[in-house]
């Protein structure tokens, strides 16, 4: 049995300690919000927090999480259901298209703002470059991160002739 703390709750799972956190969360704990994308830490779809830091759960064995706190996309809203400011900004900027990568994007963004509440564009690039979005919503991701950080935006005008 491996003892875990997931989204503030104590959980025990009976799995091979080498099993990646991704599959433990998805299959054993039945929290499918964290996604499988590549299996080799190249796309970021599986990003969760381990003690507040973003990790690629597809390539991190569950043994590495013993005695530490895992936070998944299911665990970042308040207990009363109020969405995290990053989630709210994501809706406001209409970020997701297919949505599959967005759990990972949001987990990377929340970790960034936890560490650096006022990131520059270069810092956003550095923190988010590990997360692939095939729908290419990168500009909206940047907009949403800045909005969540309270950074003044220069919006791109949209015109209808």
């Amino acid at each position: 049995m491996i003892k875990l703390n997931v989204n503030g709750q104590s959980r025990e799972v009976d799995v091979d300690p080498a099993t990646p956190i991704l599959w433990v969360v998805r299959e054993n704990l039945e929290m499918p919000g964290t996604k499988f994308g590549c299996g080799i830490a190249q796309c970021g779809a599986c990003t969760v927090h381990l003690d507040g830091k973003p990790i690629r759960s597809c390539s991190t064995p569950v043994s590495a999480a013993e005695g530490k706190s895992i936070t998944t996309i299911e665990g970042i809203a308040s207990e009363d259901g109020t969405l995290h400011k990053v989630q709210q900004a994501w809706i406001e900027a209409q970020v997701p298209q297919c949505g599959y990568c967005q759990s990972g994007q949001i987990m990377s963004a929340t970790a960034l703002l936890l560490k650096n509440p006022q990131p520059t564009d270069a810092q956003i690039d550095a923190a988010m470059a590990g997360n692939v979005c095939r729908c290419g919503m990168y500009n909206r991701i940047r907009t949403a991160i800045k909005a969540a950080a309270g950074i003044e935006l220069t919006t791109v005008q949209e015109t209808v002739a």
């Binding site: 990646p20 039945e30 996604k35 499988f36 796309c43 996309i73 989630q87 949505g99 729908c135």
Partner: protein
């Protein structure tokens, strides 16, 4: 594009259409009164009602809308959501015509049911009393044909949803529902229908001061006959169409609750990892699974002939065990093929076709004469590679075959095809298969294929218990249905004033859309476009914008080469070619103006322009590229787009951004290569994706050029981006790019 058309009552393409459908009937199903439009004998409403109207007192007004007791209007959307915003855009079209309260509109994806593959629904709404010859009148012909293509397969792709289903069906359904509600109120209130107005899901009569919600008359509305041609709104009366409404599917996509195909949960479910023979057409001759058998959690190891499957308690266990299996494969025709050999094969076929061979696609004027007498002659050859789709959600499917029934869960662009594929694989009739569609973690054409459905159903049939099959990223990359590699050759002639007078093109392959290689919008006196069919070894599949993805690059690169030969800049040259087409010119001019075309740029920066009408929409893009580094840096893309009328401006803009990212990824990096018949790429480290630090700024201008003829949104933003970028590289460096991707070229 899709193969299995399973509609059973399709009228023939010619001849008299025997109407088997009838319209308008209310039926009581269980305790809930469900009313709708019956379109076939054997009224399907009682069969559909449990699928669509599960609650008490829900009233299905017609096949695309229901109204419940709380006055909630539910739009039934016969298309799948893969991020393109179709749920919201189509609901906007229905709700606007119905005068529904947008805040009380809900969305339901139509079940994978024959009801929604029937183009007779469309015929009934559009022209119920006409048989086929009369239907083919100019006002409705195009619409019905479009709708038949999209609805006939319940297919989501080809940028069809808004321009066909939305324009022809959702709006009509909304307007019809509204007229039926008004007629019911008029009858009850004993006032002329013309005095009744509707707004925000309310029915109002100013003279008597009466007002009631839609729900009050939903039942009585069902007794009204369906209007044959309900009156549609003019754009000045739109209140919901044309508005940037927030997408309905987004909230579930920020908290992890959105259910994708890969998230299917079935009690007792096991997991399968699979590996197909690496060369198309090969089979497994033998395999050594001795290590896999002893690995924890492994339940079954299956040699399925064309692939190996390991079934285990968990996916990771299954994949680990699969990785330990050594398989030997049969010899196949493609075993010796590599990428260079394939391009050599294309060249041989093109050489053989010469100046006059191949299959003629279009021919106007005398190209030979035009070219012979041209003052300036331009010739060029372009190449593009195979491309994988690389949807973020790897291919997967969950299936359960037992007791003569089959249930299948996945995310598919053509749910009815998926259901049919499962039926075929399970050896069961279509009626005994239930297909459960989920959100698609990216489609881009990949999820119009059913190979994953077939494989999972075969595994489930072999095991007897529910199995979730997940492809590794490596499998997803190596077993795709690819955008084909292709070669295209051009010869163009210019007169002494630098005006284009002849256009001669021959290219490999032609799939879809058939107009992709053609340039009817460019005013060139003579043109001739031909193709040669060459075996491509790998499986073809539609890839976002399909043939336009390569022909956009071919055509717009060559136009730029002609412009350069004429001593003109790309914008001016295209303006001349578009003279006489004001709608096209406006799009081109808008993009150029936005970009500050002609103004000074920093050193080693360049602007490139490209113009591609596709899927009914006209798009021009100007890319600004910085060539001061070791590789091109696309800084900004200016987009002007005219899809006729933009239903959801924010959603359409998002599609332009998305198409640019998808097309730019391919232009910069996208390349699937073959060696010994096998795909060499496996994952994102060797099939790289555009990332946030490489994403250009995107500025979009939308133009409503013709509200009666809508164009698509998902694909038209893609074809111009590659040539806009390569034309910008030429402007900055003088280096002409004739082969993609850009990562093949050195810019140091």
């Amino acid at each position: 594009m899709s193969k299995n058309n399973t509609a059973t009552d399709k009228p023939g393409k010619t001849g008299k259409w025997t109407r088997r459908a009838f319209i308008g009937a209310g039926v009581v199903a269980g305790s809930a009164l469900v009313v709708g439009v019956a379109v076939r004998q054997g009224n399907p409403i009682d069969r559909l009602s449990p699928l669509l109207a599960k609650g008490e007192n829900e009233r299905l007004l017609n096949a695309w809308v229901k109204v419940d007791a709380d006055n909630i209007v539910t739009a039934v959307i016969p298309h799948v959501e893969m991020g393109q915003g179709v749920y919201t855009a189509l609901a906007q079209m229905l709700a606007d015509e119905m005068d529904a309260d947008w805040n009380k509109v809900r969305i339901l994806e139509a079940p994978a049911d024959m009801q929604y593959v029937s183009d007779s629904i469309a015929r009934d709404f559009l022209a119920p009393d006409l048989d086929v010859p009369a239907i083919f009148e100019p006002t409705v012909t195009g619409g019905i044909l479009e709708l038949a293509q999209a609805m006939g397969l319940q297919f989501t792709g080809g940028s069809y949803s808004v321009r066909a289903t939305g324009q022809r069906a959702m709006r009509t359904a909304g307007a019809a529902a509204r007229e039926m509600l008004v007629a019911a109120a008029a009858s009850e209130w004993q006032v002329p229908a013309g005095e009744i107005t509707t707004a925000n899901s309310m029915i109002l009569h100013a003279g008597s001061g009466k007002s009631e919600p839609f729900s009050k008359f939903a039942l009585a509305a069902a007794e009204q006959s369906l209007p044959a041609k309900p009156t549609l709104k003019s754009p000045e009366n739109y209140t919901i169409m044309g508005q940037p409404k927030a997408r309905h599917d987004i909230p579930a996509k920020v908290d992890g609750s959105a259910v994708f195909g890969i998230d299917a949960q079935v009690p007792g479910m096991k997991y399968a990892a699979v590996r197909a023979a690496p060369v198309v057409g090969a089979t497994i001759e033998s395999m050594d699974a001795s290590a896999a058998k002893t690995m924890p959690g492994v339940l079954q190891i299956l040699n399925m002939g064309d692939f190996v499957a390991v079934v285990a308690d968990g996916y990771w266990q299954a994949q680990q065990a699969l990785n330990s299996i050594d398989a030997k494969y049969s010899k196949s025709e493609g075993d010796s093929l590599d990428q260079d050999a394939l391009f050599a094969r294309y060249a041989t076929h093109l050489d053989e076709a010469g100046d006059d061979g191949g299959d003629m696609e279009t021919e106007t004027g005398d190209v030979a004469k035009g070219f012979a007498s041209a003052a300036i002659k331009v010739e060029a050859e372009y190449k593009v590679p195979f491309l994988a789709h690389a949807t973020m959600e790897p291919m997967n499917c969950t299936a359960w075959v037992r007791d003569g029934k089959c249930d299948v869960w996945s995310g598919h662009q053509a749910p009815v095809n998926a259901r049919q594929a499962a039926a075929d694989a399970a050896g069961l009739p279509f009626e005994d298969v239930t297909y459960h569609n989920a959100y698609l973690g990216g489609g881009f054409g990949r999820r119009s294929e059913s190979d994953n459905i077939t494989m999972a159903t075969r595994i489930a049939k072999a095991t007897g218990y529910p199995v979730k099959m997940i492809w590794s990223r490596e499998e997803d990359t190596a077993q795709d249905h690819y955008r084909p590699s292709a070669t295209s050759r051009f010869r163009g002639g210019l007169d002494k004033d630098g005006k284009a007078v002849s256009w001669d093109n021959i290219h490999t392959h032609l799939f879809d859309p058939k107009d992709a290689p053609t340039v009817p919008y460019y005013n060139i006196a003579s043109h001739k476009i031909r193709k040669v069919d060459v075996p491509t070894q790998l499986r073809f599949g539609p890839w976002r914008s399909v043939d336009h993805s390569q022909h956009g690059f071919f055509i717009e690169s060559f136009v730029d080469e002609m412009a350069d030969a004429a001593g003109k800049d790309g914008y001016t040259f295209r303006r001349e070619l578009l003279a006489g087409s004001p709608r096209h010119l406006k799009v081109l001019d808008t993009a150029a103006k936005m970009s500050g075309w002609g103004s000074a740029l920093p050193e080693k920066h360049g602007r490139g322009i490209a113009f591609v009408p596709s899927f009914g929409s006209i798009v021009a893009q100007v890319a600004e590229v910085d060539m001061s580094g070791a590789k091109p840096k696309v800084k900004k893309v200016y987009v002007a787009a005219d899809p006729g009328f933009v239903i959801n401006p924010d959603g359409f803009t998002a599609q332009m951004e998305s198409a640019i990212a998808y097309g730019l990824t391919a232009a910069l990096y996208g390349e699937i290569t073959l060696k010994d018949g096998k795909v060499q790429q496996s994952n994102f480290h060797d099939y790289p994706m555009l990332r946030i630090n490489e994403m250009p700024e995107v500025e979009v201008a939308l133009i409503n050029g013709d509200h009666k003829h809508l164009g698509g949104g998902g694909e038209p933003g893609l074809p111009p981006i590659a040539p806009a970028v390569t034309n910008a590289i030429f402007a900055a460096t003088g280096k002409r790019i004739r082969e993609l991707p850009l990562s093949k070229h050195s810019f140091a």
